[in-house]
């Protein structure tokens, strides 16, 4: 019977707890890094840590990894692509407005 999906054949609990610990460590790390003077790198490091945390949540908690349907992955990539368009094209305007 096709009742259980692929990712639940072996227990996923160790993975869940490992991701949970990693997310808590990431939170501690980002608070610690914000207290250091890293010059222009403070914001990129904070955003990099946030993106790693978000990726962990999406891959393991939201089951993107091991999703049987490729369409789901396509929707996620499309959402990120359009977000990038929104931010990227807006900044090509604002970042080059030397006259304002």
């Amino acid at each position: 019977m096709l009742i259980m999906s692929d990712h639940s054949k072996s227990s996923p609990l160790p993975t869940y707890f490992a991701v949970f610990i990693a997310l808590l460590i990431g939170t501690g790390l980002t608070v610690y890094a914000s207290g250091l003077d890293l010059g222009p790198f403070n914001a990129p490091i904070a955003l990099a840590i946030a993106s790693i945390k978000a990726t962990l949540v999406a891959l393991f908690f939201m089951h993107i990894k091991g999703a049987s349907e490729k369409l789901t992955k396509l929707v996620v990539i499309a959402a990120l692509f359009f977000l990038l368009l929104l931010l990227g094209l807006t900044m090509t305007d604002y970042a080059t407005r030397a006259w304002s």
């Binding site: 096709l2 707890f17 980002t30 250091l36 908690f61 049987s68 789901t72 977000l83 807006t90």
Partner: protein
């Protein structure tokens, strides 16, 4: 109607009762539900994306003023709330796993703890909002942000108008996030009632799965809001 009873008899033999008629197999039914939720979450990405975009534009334009305004937020409470949401995400995956593996007590417990953590988050948020009202940092007629030094520029003070813009974005972004939390609590209350009635089985627990997707998404939004609002220009 003898014909229809024969048809029903054939129907139950050929089909899993948890499987809707228009799907070929349970896996297809589950994939369709989760794909629909992901499409909704993609629209949510664009919804919040507009606010993140506005934040990015004004943060770069009024860099020091945003830094000064951000420094007035309470990092301890913000970090605590981040941890609270991460814990709630763990209880949500435990709930989904419990539903998959027919562990009803764990399912009900996980859903209940998730709701408690969601309420703790909103409570801490309320304390933070109250602090902002007391300090007159809420945009509007009584807004006051006088003589607050700009980080990295000794002797300079932040422009109150630009700082007010930061607090406008702060309240809209965290407020919209809090609204999503409140909706999430409503969804989880419904899931809890359904779980107590024993409606979820390993064959059919789609609401737990896609409700969980929603909750994790709201967690991801906060994962970005926390450093962008609380942690810019923290260093001495």
């Amino acid at each position: 109607m003898p014909d229809s009873s024969t048809a029903t008899g054939l129907h139950t033999e050929a089909h899993n009762p948890a499987l809707l008629h228009h799907f070929a197999e349970p896996q297809q039914q589950r994939d369709a539900a989760s794909l629909g939720m992901w499409v909704f979450l993609a629209t949510e990405v664009m919804f919040f994306g507009g606010l993140f975009c506005a934040y990015l534009v004004y943060r770069l334009k009024y860099f020091g003023d945003f830094g000064a305004a951000s420094k007035t937020l309470n990092v301890t409470l913000g970090a605590t709330n981040t941890a609270v949401l991460i814990c709630s995400s763990l209880t949500v995956v435990l709930a989904v796993w419990a539903a998959q593996s027919a562990r009803r007590t764990l399912l009900i417990g996980s859903l209940g703890i998730t709701m408690i953590l969601g309420l703790v988050f909103l409570g801490i948020k309320g304390v933070e909002y109250n602090d902002k009202f007391v300090e007159h940092h809420v945009p509007g007629a009584s807004f006051s942000f006088e003589k607050v030094p700009t980080p990295g520029h000794p002797g300079q003070y932040a422009d109150p108008h630009h700082a007010q813009l930061f607090f406008s974005l702060y309240f809209v972004m965290t407020g919209l996030h809090a609204l999503h939390m409140i909706i999430g609590l409503g969804i989880f209350l419904w899931l809890l009632i359904m779980a107590c009635k024993g409606r979820f089985t390993p064959e059919w627990h789609t609401p737990v799965e896609i409700g969980g997707l929603y909750w994790h998404f709201v967690d991801i939004i906060w994962i970005y809001l926390f450093p962008l609002l609380y942690l810019i220009d923290r260093h001495p």
